[in-house]
């Protein structure tokens, strides 16, 4: 029995035009982000959608392909998006501020997806695992590039740019865990708080070789 048009959800007779493939991905994101890859069976996914397990295999060859499809439309583009920030400004500090905001906004848009790919354990087979690590490595390199520019301009409070990068990424990535969209503060205010914390932590208060005052 192929369904007439699309979803035809019980509670939404309107223009809910989600394809099965999209429904599968959406449900998988929900369950993967909550119980992990190994903790979510394809039977769980199928049950939540009210379809059969074999139906899923009509859209994805394996369970891992479903995982990779999620990665494909979400976090895969993060490095490119962050890389593009570099050209937006010539001032290292302002440029870095844009990087942080772009990172927070991108991660926030795909919060659950990002959380999935930050589960560090190699629950996935070699292919998916390598891809995740590769993306994280690219993001780290982008941060190191920005920090090197900041250091050269005398902005940084420390010489250990690698540790600094890890600290910053810790703040940015941790935000994916605790942030709830229904909180009291709008996302923009939260972003400002996080960015100010990071900049205060990284930037030298009294820049010795200052090239641009506040």
């Amino acid at each position: 029995m192929a369904r007439p048009r699309a979803a035809a959800k019980v509670s939404d007779p309107g223009q809910d035009e989600l394809s099965r493939k999209e429904e599968l991905i959406r449900t998988a994101v929900e369950l993967f982000s909550e119980h992990g890859f190994k903790g979510t069976s394809i039977r769980d996914i199928a049950r939540h959608l009210g379809i059969s397990v074999s139906n899923m295999y009509h859209y994805f060859e394996t369970k891992e392909d479903l995982w990779l499809a999620i990665q494909e439309y979400s976090v895969r583009w993060l490095p490119d998006r962050l890389e593009a920030v570099w050209a937006l400004s010539a001032d290292p500090l302002e440029r870095f501020r844009l990087l942080l905001r772009a990172h927070l906004e991108s991660s926030g848009t795909y919060q659950k997806e990002s959380r999935i790919f930050m589960m560090d354990q190699d629950q996935i087979s070699k292919k998916g695992q390598g891809k995740s690590k590769q993306i994280q490595k690219k993001v780290l390199d982008i941060y190191l590039k920005h920090l090197a520019a900041l250091q050269q301009a005398g902005y940084l409070a420390t010489q250990q740019t690698k540790i600094l990068a890890f600290n910053i990424l810790g703040v940015v990535n941790w935000y994916l865990r605790w942030y709830k969209a229904d909180g009291p503060l709008p996302a923009e205010r939260v972003f400002d708080e996080i960015i100010n914390f990071i900049l205060n932590g990284a930037i030298n208060k009294d820049r010795p070789t200052a090239s641009k005052p506040v």
Copy 2:
């Protein structure tokens, strides 16, 4: 066949006095921290130790009991240890510095164990899951208490102490992920870097209601 005395590892005929129970815990920590709870089967653990699966059930009633035993000797004491810092100093800033160092040292001592219990997904049954969340909640409350004291003394750069607490915990917890003991810097130097970053990020540069100058 009960083994003669203790481990009697092939490569270590010395005083290697690890009990089976300790061996099981040690191996479980290694595998859990690498592949997660669901990603590690009791057969994996038994195979790594060269024993039978049923042998493990002589020391632990269930797989989850093994997980809880790890929690019992490692992260379970973290809240108490951090709570004890409060009495060590009356100065909010110095006290907070001690808190950060105690947290980093405690987590670092049980790095792999701490990583296990930070895997946020509820891979575990209700009991273990609740315990982990409960510990994390306690730690958060301790930080909020310190931050409230800092705020009252005019030290803080922001009013949003909850977001600030999340940011700080992000840095501290993230360190468990990237730190390798065989790095170029000694642990103490790494701690200093992290603590300075956090303090710079949290503390107001020009305290308005200052009660204690640098």
